[in-house]
């Protein structure tokens, strides 16, 4: 039995409830949307239940909620240096959303929502729109100072300003591609190595080697948990760094 290996299959969208058609495109409530709702539910559970008791000595749930909150508050404060923590709710929501979705993806047979570029790009676009809208609202035309690097001689500005503008446009792209690529690559690698185990077991005498990819799969699983958490953290930090630009653009 030489089952063909199809590591991409896990990322297919499956419509659960069809909501009708626009042109030829089916509009459906997919399992991806279901996972997102579930993530929001889990986050709401952690935060609402966690803050309901408000005891001085935190229980388990409260400790969990407090850890997340303090972690993000610290990150935002370090990146923006903002005393009012205006952007804390946004960064906290993004972090929790990405983290919970990444962790959902690690459950066997579950679907990794963040392995879809459109999801991560949607989040990154939200961040960049916030930067632009808030920056223009707060600083008006001074916001364009963002594109003028400090301490660069005048003639060089002719080259540096276009570079800075392209660099700014590349931000949402790199923000989204990084998260998406990490999750996608990790899940594909896991699938392939796990498949090696099955293939080797079916390969007669070669099945002695089967434990090797098995160990690798175990190690990769651990690594993927790390990546899932780390990428959520990187996403939140970068968001905070970009938002800092909206608060203090250029000089």
């Amino acid at each position: 039995m030489a089952a063909s290996i199809d590591p991409i299959h896990q990322f297919e969208l499956q419509p659960l409830v069809s909501l009708g058609h626009i042109g030829n495109q089916q509009i459906a409530f997919t399992q991806s949307a279901l996972y997102m709702f579930a993530a929001v539910g889990v986050i709401a559970l952690i935060t609402i239940v966690g803050t309901a008791g408000r005891s001085v000595v935190p229980g388990r749930m409260q400790a969990l909620a407090e850890i997340f909150y303090e972690f993000i508050a610290d990150t935002v404060h370090q990146a923006t240096g903002d005393k009012e923590q205006r952007f804390l709710p946004l960064v906290f929501s993004l972090f929790m959303f990405v983290l919970v979705l990444n962790m959902f993806g690690m459950i066997p047979y579950a679907f990794a929502v963040t392995s879809h570029l459109i999801i991560t790009f949607g989040l990154a676009f939200l961040v960049i729109s916030t930067v632009v809208v808030y920056g223009v609202m707060k600083h008006g035309s001074h916001f364009l100072g963002l594109f003028i690097p400090a301490g660069v001689p005048k003639p060089l500005l002719l080259i540096m300003v276009p570079i800075e503008i392209v660099s700014f446009i590349s931000r949402p792209i790199s923000l989204s591609v990084r998260l998406f690529a990490n999750i996608l690559a990790g899940h594909i690698a896991l699938k392939i190595f796990a498949f090696f185990v099955a293939q080797l077991l079916l390969a007669g005498a070669w099945s002695v080697l089967a434990p090797l990819p098995l160990f690798l799969t175990i190690a990769l699983t651990a690594l993927e948990f790390l990546v899932a958490a780390l990428q959520a953290y990187v996403f939140a930090t970068l968001t905070a760094v970009y938002l800092a630009d909206a608060l203090h653009p250029g000089h």
Binding site: S170, S174, A244
Partner: protein, 122 residues
């Protein structure tokens, strides 16, 4: 004429300064350069995730995405330019090169080789 000669003489005198004086001046220059230089590479703020123990694999991933993002951004800009202004090949050529430069610049900034990155701090 006269003034010039005197200046030359002065410089000649200065060149004969003792070794210790020269080395002292050299040291002063070094400290001045150090002060002008951007704070050493592992500046905490803009580099995310690099808090100490980012794996080299993660760093490679970050840097490559940063570079690719620059090129893609250039390509998108160039395509849009051409599409709306009808300057068929030129917008793409110019912006793709600009995107390439941006990608390299992004990598330099992230890995701390360029001084331009501390602009994030007010």
């Amino acid at each position: 004429m006269n003034g010039n000669d005197r200046q030359d003489e002065n410089q000649g005198n200065r060149a004969m300064a003792t070794d210790s004086e020269l080395s002292a001046r050299l040291r002063r220059l070094e400290t001045q350069i150090d002060r002008k230089r951007p704070p050493a590479a592992p500046d905490p703020s803009p580099r995310p995730g690099s808090s100490g123990a980012q794996s080299s694999l993660g760093q490679a991933m970050t840097l490559s995405t940063e570079f690719i993002a620059g090129v893609i951004a250039g390509a998108i800009l160039g395509w849009t330019f051409d599409h709306f202004l009808g300057t068929k090949p030129w917008g793409m050529i110019v912006f793709l090169m600009l995107g390439f430069v941006t990608g390299v610049y992004n990598i330099l900034r992230l890995s701390g080789f360029s001084g331009a990155k501390n602009r994030k701090d007010p």
